[in-house]
Symmetry: D2
Subunit: 492 residues, 4 copies
């Protein structure tokens, strides 16, 4: 989901951010509790807010909150308020502006034919266009998220069944989406035709009375003890009810474009994504990076935590010792504000500190996953130098990020991307490194087991590195200003 | 407004409760501040929650909260967030269940043609019926209030202008309503065709650049220093914009039925309602009561605070001294729960205490405004006897309450009304009084300056005393169960 | 109690404020619940904060909070945390500054000989002097209240028993105090030698297993259903344990000086204070006032709520009708701040509004209890005139307040008292009244059943009218600055 | 500090916990902000609560809160309330019971000679004994911490100067303590005679107007950019004022006993403790462990985060690949409660998850820092086996923990320590490992650069491994029950 009132390209933050994780359970007496655990395992996909809607004998129940899953759902009374054998849940990433509860998913609506809850990971590229049409028709919106158009499209559909109404709605939206939805008779999972965002199916329990689980990543199956069954396929709808799992493919077949950045950064290292362990993929990228851009040095140091596996691969390939030269402080509170100008420059040190004993007098290879605006890299390099490093060579386990993402990842607008406006040499100078290298696009595909990128059919969405946008960016055309006038103020 | 998910007839509370107060300002730089003051003066019409929507150069702004007006709007930063020269506000009565913010008015919607805010005092009698139709059409509801049907009816109307859409909506609803609405071009005030609930127009400032004010009662004009201009008429829409005040009467003329209970209890004593000062009306009722049902006694004691003016009138007419034999404690917190059975019977004493020195050995006439369930009266009589009163004669300044209200007042269902099932003699025995008398229906009309009640054209709504319901009770027919399945859960 | 860090003479508020109410129970299974009810009945003596300490089988338990008694103790779980057959409680008035919980009474200390809780109504006049001595000795203070010196004096006393240590402490303090104290073996009540502040003894239950109650006023006995036994005498200590009530008088006898202002304003009208019903006393003062300073008029109007009984007495004596020409709004929230200059002058109208129908064209006698700074009186007179009154005559049921109180009442410093610097004629002009009269000092004593004030032995403390301070003002001498440096910061 | 009302040996938690971090600044305009940053870097030494006391021109100011440093001090207004050129701060570990603000340090007291603030890391072993004596003397305690005895001993000391009073107090206490204290004229740092807990001195700024910094660890110097000057010596008091740094050694010289567990677990890996980089020390322990107890395996896997450096040392020495086979989830909220029995066994998985791809079919060496109760180790081994490991060999980078700590580390009582009652073979069976080995005591000393442990003069406190308690455990003798009756209830 995306917040339509905030321009995701405006964030001052330096980095990529996944926007959501989704989870669903059918046929477990602990449905809501399993969902809370699954959302906890998916916390890296969104830390701002979470919600669960459960379906019990007395109908749907909902609980939502701002903060971490453990804090929102840690109270036994909260969980007691979410009875039932089915549930869906959602984690949301902390975008700057709108943190109102009404934007927290799953969205719920009371249709004429019954209740319906839906959780969405991804981003619609024609949400504003559709919203304007719906408002003109008399629809009143409750949230400022793109995801709400699903709900209205289903509400006004002329088809009779929930499934037909859902398909009717899906055919009108453009964009990336993995959905988990719940209504009276079934749990449903949906992936967009290109399969940009992940969604997996698991089974919990070996006996006849087993439960079914849908989740963004396999790590959420592991935490509840569910067995991985298969990935939901691009363009597939699975309908899970007491008769089992049915599959529908309402779209014409097309070649898939899974988000390649899930391997580089987003997915958790212990997840297996589309058949490949993420941890292994990252080590492979590190090895490829060492082959492509080796340099003499004394020590390979990861920028924690995301750079660690690639640095291990690099170290092994290059035969240079791997050391924890940077320590991460995991106790950073929500709101640390540096109070005076004279200490504001200490910024990045709140999260990272140099392990001076490992850096002093050394030639250091720093391995990180990406450079977005460059501000973090600059501070890291500076910190490593101040700790006494003799040389600092930065190696990046992704190609240069030259384009914004419109399919569900929070990135700055293009002109704020360092790689969009500068050569690698310029970037090295800007961040203050003695040398800088990115993995090549072909190297990245090689690390993922291909011969290199096949431009005719790459198999992955790599628009952030190539500008090859495979889904039309409808809202951007003719509507340069993204923000709608004023939406749904009534929700407070 | 009414909450459709709670049966207003279910409340355990013993008494009548007004459900709302509304206020609006056009053309003042202090629009929101004046609205906060006006809502404060109308606090007796609803103490649960309040909201203000203001319209400034950058569009609509909203703030809502639970609690008293002073606590919600006492913060200068809150007020600074409500800029603009126009505003509307609403107070809500504390019904048992749903205290969610999403039910707090004014309701706001972002229509295709612009923003629209509306505050509603009253109750619609076909809201559920309309809501079912709207949901079937694909409308998604955000709150569980009857008032939201106004918003959807306007949203889907095929008329072009806001005014025509509003009239279109009004023609579809049944019930009692005084509305204050705000859109980009104008402030609007509306009273239902029978004029059941009050609404007055005032002007603030003598010069050309004066402001216009709409309010439920004149006491809210007084607090902001506005001059009373006139009552809005039954069935009238006033449109206030920078060209002045326009009036439209879209309904066929009919004889009006103003709520007679506003005189007896709801309105503030310093308000002037439909030309009659409320305080004078109450003293007059007390005099009439003394004439009709005099009794020998030593002292006339009001049940504070509402019984005071009638007791003064009674005392003067009867020539029996008026004394404050019962003291009211105004410091009762929100949540006083008696913790053990042994002291639970102390209940009513939290609000009232006997002034023993005035009661001991006396023959006491107690004057109160009404008997609903009878539980409070029973406790009061018992308390007065325990303080040493020799005789206790209860006199009530309204006729027996035999029917429920469906036009905006929170009353128990009929079978819980003491007068619906018992004779006056039985009631006297139940509450423990030596004698009990109510004012007669004709006596009440005489006190209000008529010759008695004209059954053909009473001029007031007195359904709670007579069962003469002048507006059809659509939702009650064929829909015995009032509560809809599950509504708008998404709003949390 | 008093807060030593805030100068009580600095308050911007216009009025007198009682600072505390105290309550204690011995031998009831509902000790804490009864204490909560008693504190509720004493809420007029302090609305800022309340606390209860109970003594059960597992020792002392405490709960304190800011706000009204009903809100602090309305939760059944809170009450369940206060088990035991004995309890003491305290209400605190809202002084401006220090609202820290550590200043909320009862104070508790863990002495070498056991726990001890104490609640204090009054003000010590040598608290700062004693505190400086104690700090020099090595005592560390926890609160910024005068009352804490009691606790330290007891802690360091060389006597063996609690009672001897308490007497040792009492002999060192100057000032006004009514104390309720609880330790392992007994409940104790204490009044200072002059009996400035009230304290009464009651008995709850007729059988052998009755409970004993101590309270500031009889209205707190009434609410729990206890029978009034007697006033605690000036200079008396009562020790209540399972053997009954013992009395000790450790001080030399002296003539008492009960606070005369308790009759005029502080005590609740339904309390009986030192044998005289407060309501009757106030009506008598009103009658005396009418005799002393009658004036031709159409209507007698009380300034609610405190002026009502005196206005009734005045009306009856003068034969001029009594009318509620001013209506009080009881819903004023804690924090109503007027947001803009242009409406700031509306101030007083938040609490009072004019009942125009009763005032227009009339000659009005306003009856109020006192004039402190005069700001409120000025606004009231102005409001009454704006409502159309032809003449406004102010009559005050106390003599001019010319001196500050140092015995437990929050009053401004002398130079801010209107009567300290202006003649009655000047005061009339300042507040804008056509005439102004105060009751005479002798008239006040006459209304209380004496022949006038006997200067040699007045029997009441009337220092605020006469400057006749009967207890030495030690802290004021040689210590012009009242505020200690920085105290007990550790308590946060 | 320690909470005297809770038995630290009662905690259900499985692990060691450092109890405090301290920090102080003299002569910086950003004193409080630097202290907040320093406390942030010391967050690993206590995450429950933090406080800062600053000293500005208008005296001492204090702010304390529960939670993380960033959340407590992230608000610019909070920091603006802490002006001054000197400040002291304290982090507290989350012990089970008493989280009251009054227990949060720095403690502050208003002595006769001026204000005094103190922050304490460590634990006093005769605090209860002293407290009983002080209470008998008439001292009233405000908190339930051991540290408060310092304050009372200083308050009642008969010496004249603050320094002499401090020395007087220090000579009466037994136990481990590193103190940072602030009074009007100076910042002071103190280490107990054995130097059990760390304390370092740093200098910020090269010019004449430099600031001085005291901190528990060098990582807190690094974050503020201060240069390390030297460790405070065992038994040393440093007095820092505008004339520079003075040193006093009031105790007889004795051989020091620095806590060896700081190297194994507590200190941050990027700190340099007593001259040795912690990260290097841990890698060395891992190497020694590999030498002592090698085993054939496919992979060395650390239990994150604390086991990582030892696992790296082990891997290098053993020539077995190091892999991140366990992933840690850093988003665990404060209060995650598993709601039903059926999923309660998932417990440990909230913090750790198995990286299945790295474990399946492998012989795994797990490296962790210690085994306390064994419950965590059991769950980790189980998780690794469920992920498909063929063999699981546990290696521990400390000797068996056979004794409780009484010098400032929160450990279970002895009978709950797995190693106190079981042989290594039994422990292996209990935790389910194929083999288990601890580093030997001599091996540990070798890794720290000695020839082995010199029993006559070990140089480190290793009581938790040996029972060699070098400071008398006064409170334990003759006072088997640790918890005092009821303390300082008044603070609420």
């Amino acid at each position: 989901m995306t917040d339509l009132t905030t321009n995701p390209l405006d964030s001052e933050d330096d980095g990529f951010h996944e926007e959501c994780g989704v989870f669903g359970v059918w046929n477990s007496p602990d449905a809501a509790a399993l969902t809370a655990l699954g959302l906890h395992a998916l916390q890296h996909r969104g830390q701002e807010a979470s919600g669960i809607v459960s379906l019990g004998e007395k109908g749907f129940r909902s609980h939502k909150g701002l903060g971490l899953v453990g804090d929102i759902f840690g109270d036994a009374r909260v969980m007691a308020g979410l009875p039932g054998r089915a549930a869906v849940g959602h984690n949301r990433y902390a975008t700057a502006g709108e943190t109102a509860l009404r934007n927290v998913q799953p969205l719920y609506a009371d249709f004429a034919f019954g209740g319906f809850a839906v959780a969405h990971n991804g981003n619609l590229t024609n949400a504003l266009t559709l919203r304007r049409q719906l408002v003109r028709r008399g629809c009143l919106f409750q949230s400022s998220t793109d995801s709400e158009v699903f709900v209205h499209l289903i509400a006004i559909s002329l088809y009779a069944t929930v499934l037909d109404r859902l398909i009717d709605a899906l055919k009108q939206v453009d964009g990336a989406y993995s959905l988990v939805a719940l209504h009276d008779g079934a749990l449903m999972g949906v992936r967009d035709p290109l399969g940009v965002r992940p969604l997996v199916l698991g089974r919990l329990g070996a006996d006849q009375n087993h439960a079914w689980v849908l989740a963004s990543e396999t790590c959420a199956l592991d935490i509840v003890g569910a067995d991985f069954v298969r990935d939901i396929e691009p363009g597939e709808i699975v309908i899970i009810d007491d008769d089992g799992v049915r599959s529908i493919k309402p779209f014409a077949e097309t070649s898939s474009r899974f988000c390649i950045f899930e391997y580089i950064y987003f997915a958790r290292p212990d997840s297996v994504v589309e058949g490949t362990p993420v941890y292994e993929a990252r080590k492979g990228i590190g090895r490829e990076l060492a082959i492509e851009s080796g340099v003499e040095a004394d020590v390979v140091v990861p920028v924690p935590d995301s750079g660690v596996p690639a640095a291990m691969g690099y170290s092994k390939e290059a035969g240079i010792p791997f050391e924890l030269g940077i320590i991460r402080n995991h106790y950073v509170g929500r709101t640390f504000i540096e109070p005076t100008d004279s200490i504001r420059h200490l910024g990045v040190k709140l999260k990272h500190s140099a392990n001076r004993a490992m850096l002093e007098g050394k030639r250091v290879i720093l391995v990180d996953d990406s450079i977005v605006r460059g501000t973090t890299s600059k501070k890291i390099v500076e910190m490593v130098r101040q700790a006494g490093a003799r040389e600092v060579h930065m190696r990046i386990s992704s190609p240069p990020t030259t384009h914004s993402c419109f399919y569900g990842i929070d990135t700055p607008e293009r002109e704020k991307l360092l790689a969009a406006k500068h050569s690698v040499e310029e970037m090295a100078r800007i961040i203050g490194a003695d040398s800088l290298a990115f993995i090549s696009l072909d190297g990245l595909y090689r690390a993922l087991g291909q011969r290199g990128r096949d431009a005719a059919n790459p198999g992955y969405c790599d628009a952030c590195f190539t500008g090859d946008y495979s889904i039309p960016l409808t809202d951007l055309q003719g509507h340069p200003e993204r923000k709608p006038a004023l939406l749904a103020l009534n929700g407070v």
